[in-house]
């Protein structure tokens, strides 16, 4: 057993991080806030292998595993990479052109019954829409949908349309495929949430070192130090859980895959949410402004919280898993 990154994994992570720092900086995001989706960036992400990462080499992909994918999505989370990256990655083998970035694939998860409105993310920018239902996966042509563009989406980088109903689509997979899709989606979303948990902790820590009140850096006040120590601790727990989920997907013999993935979604969801809130608080009045990116983190977390199962749903799933056999 060696639960550390291999050299290859470190190189992979570092490569994606330096790309993101250069290309998906907060300043670049601010530009995107005005223009919407950036197809060029999408192409570059594709070129880096973000979508073809787990596709087999025979099929033209990179041939890596889920543990590697979690690392990459951690970086995409850190930089708040915009667009339906998870859906497009998961669609690599299902939809032609998804892996190469030529076909931008979005999706909606309807595998649990609820009365949520039908809000479709990135509708204007996608070429295919996947619908996850309890009994399978369907593909719909987004152009066939008409809906109302929501003027003020919660996350400025996740535009949404409200549509009245979804027509029947082309069936791409059965119930088992849908369940698998959702499981892997939850693991990748966990990776992103982990990245956001780290980024918001780091943003808050940096500010706490610089901002002075009462003649000294506010980071010297224990109320803040302890809040930040908790942020760090939650983030490390979330990291262990997210990495374990990836490693368990790759090698199901080392654990219960469902339990590992649900655990990751619960812990990364909590860590991200609490760290992002702490980040707003630690910035004081500045934290409540649009200018400080703390809110971008928080808003993206809400998007991810509602993808592939909420913290509550996954906690219930874990409870079901530990109660079997008793």
């Amino acid at each position: 057993m060696d639960f550390q990154l291999t050299e290859d994994q470190e190189a992979l992570r570092d490569g994606v991080r330096s790309f993101c720092e250069g290309r998906v900086s907060i300043d670049a995001l601010r530009e995107l806030e005005k223009t919407g989706f950036d197809r060029e960036l999408w192409g570059e992400l594709a070129e880096m292998g973000v979508f073809s990462l787990r596709q087999s080499e025979d099929a033209g992909g990179v041939g890596l595993g889920s543990a590697d994918a979690v690392l990459v999505f951690e970086e995409l989370g850190r930089c708040l990479a915009p667009g339906p990256v998870t859906w497009s990655h998961l669609a690599a083998d299902l939809v032609d052109g998804a892996a190469t970035g030529e076909c931008v694939v979005g999706g909606i998860d309807l595998s649990r019954t609820n009365s949520d409105p039908l809000l479709i993310e990135h509708l204007e920018h996608i070429d295919a829409l996947l619908v996850l239902r309890p009994d399978g996966i369907e593909r719909i042509d987004p152009k066939a949908l008409s809906g109302r563009a929501i003027e003020r989406p919660l996350d400025p980088f996740t535009p949404v349309h409200e549509v009245a109903e979804l027509p029947a689509g082309e069936r791409l997979g059965d119930a088992e495929a849908a369940a698998r899709f959702r499981l892997e989606g939850a693991a990748l979303a966990s990776g992103m949430l982990l990245g956001i948990a780290e980024a918001s902790q780091e943003l808050a820590t940096d500010y706490a070192k610089k901002r002075e009140q009462f003649g000294r850096p506010i980071g010297g006040f224990q109320a803040l130090k302890h809040k930040l120590a908790d942020c760090y601790t939650r983030q490390e727990l979330a990291r262990a859980a997210a990495y374990a989920a990836g490693a368990t997907l790759d090698d199901p013999e080392v654990g219960d895959v469902l339990r590992a993935v649900s655990t990751a979604k619960v812990l990364t969801g909590d860590a991200a949410m609490e760290n992002a809130r702490a980040c707003v608080q630690i910035h004081g009045g500045m934290g409540y402004t649009w200018e400080v990116p703390a809110h971008y983190y928080l808003k993206r977390i809400w998007v991810l919280e509602n993808q592939f199962g909420t913290v509550g749903e996954h906690a219930e799933r874990v409870a079901e898993r530990i109660a079997v056999g008793d």
Binding site: M1, A67, K225, L228, L237, A240, T263, L267, E316
Partner: protein, 395 residues
């Protein structure tokens, strides 16, 4: 990244499991929490069995009688010890986790010769005399003074919270040898507990037992040969000692909490609340699932930490994160269990066919864990200063 144990790890697991399966039941139930001599006997007898079977000192070097197991074998060991519900290290805690390792790195050949074998064989029990009434978190403020008189230190002072003092043979005692210097005026002594001038007054805890005591020391003559390390160098030696305490000291306990959680689900399936089986309550299930996820995450973090130590050679600061999170999680699990027990929680005996005794005990005992071994606040200071680089507290 590879979570799979090697074939030799699994072989070790198999061998250990079958040994535990026969020895744990044979060792019987622990004696009453009030009978300290019997508890010493029970704990040390178990230690002796571990030693004879080659499982004592799992991480100790072979030259000191340990097993020198690889890091992954240690993880397997902690998992199996917890799974088998094997006796707790108990009164051997201080010797095995602090005293022995400190001697290995700081003791003279004679001192090692004298103590290390007896500690690992369960013949010698140690306690830790660090804390004083006015030196707790601020340990370096300690006042117990030691003055050199020929080849003895004459020690006078007042120690507190000394666990297992009433059944110990030696005490790792911190004394002040230079009143002018705070940190650089402390010396580390291995004090025999049968010397003239030592008075032990047991202190009842909220659990109702007397796990710790006060030590009153009056002109106790401790031979200079009992000094570990140089005079006035005790603070450095102490930090060596404490680095053994965090790290993996809790590994088995963390794994064991899985069992407490399973007990809780079993309970929830038989208890009724508001005309329904408690387990039907989705909120409860989510709370339980949430705790289970946190426990799994914590165990994954232990694996991460162990792998990290394997790579870098030192236990990292992740140990503080594990201690902080684990101890608070254990308290939340205790709360949830008591709420579920309902009125049965008013009894410290098993009642109504439920394991109230253990549940109430664990819940009460968990309150000590965020205090002992460095409080949660002190762990947070450590993390915020040493990992995040925030300004230091005044010292």
């Amino acid at each position: 990244m590879d979570l799979r144990y090697s074939e030799s790890d699994e072989a070790f697991r198999k061998e250990l499991r079958s040994w535990l399966d026969s020895e744990v039941p044979a060792h019987g139930r622990p004696p009453s929490e009030h009978d300290w001599p019997a508890r010493r006997e029970y704990d040390t007898a178990w230690q002796r069995k571990l030693y004879e079977a080659g499982y004592a000192g799992i991480n100790w070097p072979k030259e000191f009688g340990g097993r020198d197991a690889s890091l992954t074998e240690q993880l397997v060991y902690y998992e199996e010890i917890a799974r088998a519900n094997a006796p707790y290290v108990g009164v051997n805690f201080v010797g095995l986790l602090h005293g022995g390792p400190t001697l290995m790195s700081e003791g003279t050949p004679e001192q090692r010769e004298k103590h290390i074998g007896p500690i690992i064989r369960g013949e010698e029990v140690w306690c830790q005399g660090f804390s004083e009434p006015s030196a707790g978190s601020d340990l370096a403020a300690l006042k117990t003074k030691a003055e050199l008189d020929g080849d003895h230190y004459v020690v006078s002072g007042h120690k507190i919270w000394t666990s297992f003092a009433q059944v110990s043979d030696y005490c790792e005692l911190l004394v002040r040898t230079n009143p002018e210097e705070k940190h650089r005026g402390i010396t580390w002594l291995a004090m025999p507990m049968d010397l003239e001038g030592i008075e032990i007054r047991p202190l009842p805890t909220i659990v109702g037992s007397s796990e710790f005591s006060e030590l009153f020391l009056e002109n106790v003559r401790v031979p200079v040969s009992c000094r570990i390390g140089k005079e006035n160098d005790g603070w450095r030696v102490t930090n060596v000692t404490l680095s053994f305490e965090r790290g993996t000291a809790f590994a088995s306990d963390i794994y064991q909490l899985q069992e407490s959680l399973r007990e809780l689900t079993r309970l929830a399936k038989v208890l009724t609340r508001d005309d329904a089986v408690a387990w039907e309550d989705r909120t409860l299930r989510r709370d339980v699932g949430h705790l289970a996820a946190e426990l799994d995450g914590l165990w994954a973090l232990v694996k991460y930490m162990v792998s990290e130590a394997g790579k870098t050679g030192v236990p990292g600061l992740t140990g503080s994160c594990v201690k902080l999170y684990y101890t608070e999680l254990k308290q939340r699990l205790g709360d949830l269990s008591l709420r579920l027990l309902g009125r049965a929680s008013l009894s410290r005996d098993d009642v109504g066919g439920m394991a109230s005794e253990t549940i109430v005990y664990e819940a009460l005992q968990s309150l000590s864990m965020t205090i002992a071994g460095g409080t949660s606040q002190i762990q947070r200071n450590i993390i915020s200063e040493r990992v995040l680089g925030l300004p230091r507290e005044p010292r």
